[in-house]
């Protein structure tokens, strides 16, 4: 009885807190994408090693802010903001007025703003509808700004809108070629989900270690091993028909099967994570002079 309640408590034990912010994880593609979403939605999964591995590359994927969310769609006019000439005054000490400001497109300013990491200012001017007339230059500057804040998805959308024949088309295409590619992962041998599953069936957690997730593998080995030990002891001392043995064995069985499935899944998740990280690295180190307007 006590052992059963102990096992129940174990299942209900609070897992480490999930990350406070909820930035989008890199997308997992392929047949396991749905399972990845399910795993991401659970608190327990986030404490696993796969996710710790992902966290290492998270910074590459997390934009400083979501320009689309803040400034809305690209093609509409902001009320009360026509002609690109907003007027307001600014006083330092209440005596002097600096007069009127005008929004004149200036490539020099954007070169300065992006170089000085004033990304929010550049984005506010570029993504707010009505400030500048639509043009290839505007679209390209939007793409570069999105690239600089590491929002590669938004950058790809902006660059994709640049038509062929534009002076920016070659650079935009160079970016899109990398974005749409599936890069090879250096120093990574392809792993078999089947083998990972079989390994975990023999020694719990070993499949995850094989897949490249040592921490999660050891954790699984400890937990599944301990549950197995508890079930075995109950079986020996109380007999196979005792309800406590049945309950403990059921809990162990669930964890055991979950461990096999998780190991097979982790091969795909880790491969995609490495692949996404490699792509982010390639985009990050892009050898294209994007900032030369």
């Amino acid at each position: 009885m006590n052992a059963l309640v102990l096992a129940a408590l174990l299942l209900l034990a609070p897992a480490p807190d999930a990350p406070a912010a909820s930035p989008a994880w890199p997308k997992v593609r392929g047949p396991f994408s749905w399972a990845d979403r399910v795993m991401n939605s659970t608190t327990i999964a986030r404490s696993g090693g796969i996710y710790a591995l992902r966290a290492k590359t998270l910074a590459l994927y997390t934009p400083a802010f979501d320009a689309r969310l803040r400034f809305g769609p690209f093609s509409s006019v902001t009320p009360g903001f026509e002609g690109g000439v907003p007027t307001f005054s600014a006083d330092f000490d209440g005596d002097s007025s600096v007069g009127q400001l005008s929004a004149t497109p200036s490539l020099g300013f954007f070169s300065y703003a992006l170089g000085s990491k004033l990304y929010e200012d550049a984005a506010a001017l570029l993504f707010t509808p009505g400030v500048f007339a639509p043009s290839d230059t505007l679209q390209y500057l939007r793409g570069v700004t999105a690239y600089d804040i590491h929002d590669f998805s938004l950058a790809a959308d902006c660059f994709a809108a640049i038509p062929e024949g534009s002076p920016y088309a070659v650079k935009a295409k160079s970016f899109l070629d990398v974005w749409n590619s599936t890069p090879e992962i250096p120093n990574y041998k392809p792993k078999s989900p089947l083998l990972a599953g079989v390994m975990s069936a023999v020694i719990p957690g070993s499949g995850k270690i094989y897949a490249g997730d040592l921490r999660s593998g050891v954790s699984t080995l400890l937990i599944v091993g301990a549950l197995g030990g508890m079930a075995a002891e109950s079986w020996i001392k109380l007999g196979g028909r005792d309800w406590r043995t049945i309950a403990l064995s059921s809990v162990f069985g669930l964890f055991y099967i979950g461990n096999i499935y998780g190991s097979a899944l982790s091969v795909s998740v880790i491969r995609n994570t490495y692949q996404d990280a490699e792509k982010a690295t390639l985009l990050f180190d892009l050898r294209i002079p994007l900032h030369q307007f």
Binding site: A3, V5, L6, L9, P14, P86, F92, S96, D121, L227
Partner: protein, 197 residues
Amino acid sequence: MAEEGPDPALKAALCEMAAWQAADRATRDSLLLAKAEFLAEAGESARAYETVCRIQRFGLSEDQRAELLRRKLIYSWEAGKLDDFKVLLEEAGKTVSGKPRHRSTDAAMLLSIIPGAGLAYAGDWASAGRTFLAGAGSIALGVGAFASGLYVSAFLGGGILLYTTLPAATAKAIEAANEFNVRSLKEFYTPIYNALR
């Protein structure tokens, strides 16, 4: 100063662009100050603070320096940069009697060996209660399992519980101690911030 029309973040960006084009320093400083105000209006105090920090003090009049310092104090407070706030307060020549209440993260970590004690020390009584109940319950269950002759289960079950809960509870206690210190610091300096506004 705020007017109807464009989004404050856009106004701030326009100020930045105009500051870049400004012919003289006074205009540039004015525009940066205006930008900071727009950013504060948009709820982006951290950026507002960074912006006023870009304004150099030399060459400003006494009144302008005082105003700049006041703005820095306000924005650093609103941005939660309390360490900067303290330094700026010293720069302003303000002396504050007493000390804010403080909880040591080391003590919170060590006390976490006793379930809930670290959290209670850090002032998170609700989590402390939950952790204590879970800890006490698991110890009672372990003792019960031991008394029933399930020695291995008592040991393994206790080990798993320890492995899964203790690090999380310790981390939470440290976090709670840090939060307590920030809260305490804010409470301590609130009257000064209110006076600055």
